[in-house]
Symmetry: C2
Subunit: 329 residues, 2 copies
């Protein structure tokens, strides 16, 4: 079994990289940008290059499914880059391929707010995928960068699933039927995502969980079982949204960026502005095994557990990273 | 035989890409930046991406020696990126690996003037490789980007050959003994370059040729023979410096950039400011065969002709592109 966590944004350190190894995590999709423009995103990639140089026995830069297999063989964790916002491509469609060349493999079309491309999940009006958004989807399809709609709104997400000629991802969110957060996804989206070969990564961020920090492992696994029934066992995985060791200033950067002078609390509130506590059974990269065990207890077969814990993402990486000529569609 | 031209900077067009195919050119190292800073160099790479997308049957982006072999097999030309100036890395050593990730495989430490790294061939004082220059050489050695000293001065070039732990290149210049231009190289440099496993690419730019535009093919081939005696037959290749179809404004950009408000004529003069006419026997990518025939007439063996026309560069690509851990030196 390959273990893949398809979304983390930690305050990276040797400690965390070692925890990835302790937990046997073969691949992690890490966030390179929340609100960063191109040049700032490049600076973040440079920082990762220094970590790759400094900790070659723990991590390396992954760009293909094959790199996940290599990571498992060599006892390392392959790190995949992604943007949570299209801000790094600015207004320039040519920057998509440039970012792909720099190893970026996922990009959200929106992060909570309206972007040049689509509407975020916190906007009151959802006008769907824009003119530029359609061009960007076509270009992302061509180069093989995955469209991620985790922070997008209903119509925009359904639009993206329909417009994209390759499957898309919702890397980190949960079903709305289980916990009605603005970031969680409707049955309509989950059904369309599954039908189109896309993947949903289940989030462990407490604001996305039923009973938040007090969410039980059993409830989480029950939710996975119900989602598998809705979407298919091949269309789900993990995207923990783990934000380990981050100071509150980073939560503020995620929520407020530079787009307002006011404070915005996102899924939190003025009284509860910081990171909520993680559930007792999942605190860091060493605890994926608890989820696998929870699924086993719930009656999942070993093959199904492997699918959820990484094999589905691995197949998705194999099929959807990399250039494809339009005639191949 | 693989045919490689290790330096061109043309006003790129379908016409020129077709001429590369007519001439059977398997690989060309093209200039991405003269004075461009990072973001401007990225814009130039974006433009190349558009050409790769538009002319997939003629050209593709090459990054390894294997790509030269693939080009020959598929009847295409592999395009390798290089900078003639370190301006794209600005003051930031981390940008070397970023540019490597974008496919850049060659970088000059200086372009005529003093840079942050070393001294250019037109400066009066040559202070050698700087503190940052030493760090940049180490980093270029690590990631496998080739140090190019074509436009550098005597001491800086000898310093770079000595400091670098991997062989360096002078991609486009000729021996000073044949034609005493400021850009041509001393016996001391050529000898040290050959001894260290480096390569000299012979230039066809008329200001680098004996009798300039009137240089005879025989004289050019005689010069190659003498240089082979000095450096070794394995340490020479072609770097034509072909600047086809460029308007005079581009010559001005090369020479003046943004570093002065005055006019500078480089190797030309006020009376002869534009591009000089190319020699009658080499005008574009269709004419490399003339050089091969000239070498044959001069008594070179077929194996030696192949070495000069591309095999030496191919071996150099195989050995010197790509990451190497410092412990491997």
């Amino acid at each position: 079994m390959h273990l893949i966590d398809n979304l983390q944004y930690a305050n990276w350190s040797e400690k965390i990289f070692k925890q990835m190894r302790e937990g046997g995590v073969d691949a992690v999709h890490v966030t390179i940008a929340y609100h960063e423009m191109f040049r700032e995103a490049v600076a973040n990639i440079k920082q990762w290059n220094r970590w790759f140089e400094r900790y070659p026995d723990l991590i390396f830069h992954g760009t293909t499914g094959e790199d996940v297999r290599r990571a498992k063989c060599e006892g390392k964790t392959a790190i995949f880059f992604g943007f949570q916002n299209p801000s790094p491509i600015e207004d320039d469609i040519g920057l998509i391929e440039i970012c792909y060349m720099l190893g970026v493999r996922f990009m959200q079309l929106t992060y909570n707010n309206q972007s040049l491309l689509a509407t975020g999940c916190y906007e009151e009006e959802d006008s769907g995928v824009t003119r530029m958004g359609k061009q960007v989807i076509k270009e992302m399809n061509r180069v093989g960068m995955i469209i991620d709609m985790s922070h997008s709104s209903e119509r925009s997400t359904l639009d993206a699933i329909e417009i994209s000629q390759r499957p898309i991802a919702i890397t980190h969110a949960n079903p709305y039927f289980w916990h009605p957060a603005k970031r969680n996804k409707s049955d309509a989206i989950l059904h369309a995502l599954g039908q189109s070969g896309g993947i949903l990564g289940f989030s462990l961020y407490p604001h996305h969980l039923k009973n938040k920090s007090d969410c039980s492992l059993e409830s989480f696994c029950e939710m996975i079982a119900r989602t598998a029934d809705l979407m298919g066992i091949d269309n789900i995985g993990i995207g923990s949204d783990l934000c380990q060791d981050q100071p509150d200033s980073i939560v503020e950067w995620m929520r407020v960026g530079r787009w307002t002078k006011d404070m915005d609390y996102g899924e939190g509130s003025a009284k509860n502005a910081g990171f909520p506590a993680m559930p007792s059974w999942f605190k860091d990269n060493r605890h994926f095994d608890a989820i696998a065990k929870g699924l086993e207890k719930k009656g999942f077969l070993q093959k199904e557990i492997s699918a959820v814990m990484g094999e589905n993402w691995l197949r998705f990486y194999d099929e959807n990273f990399g250039h494809k000529h339009l005639k191949d569609f």
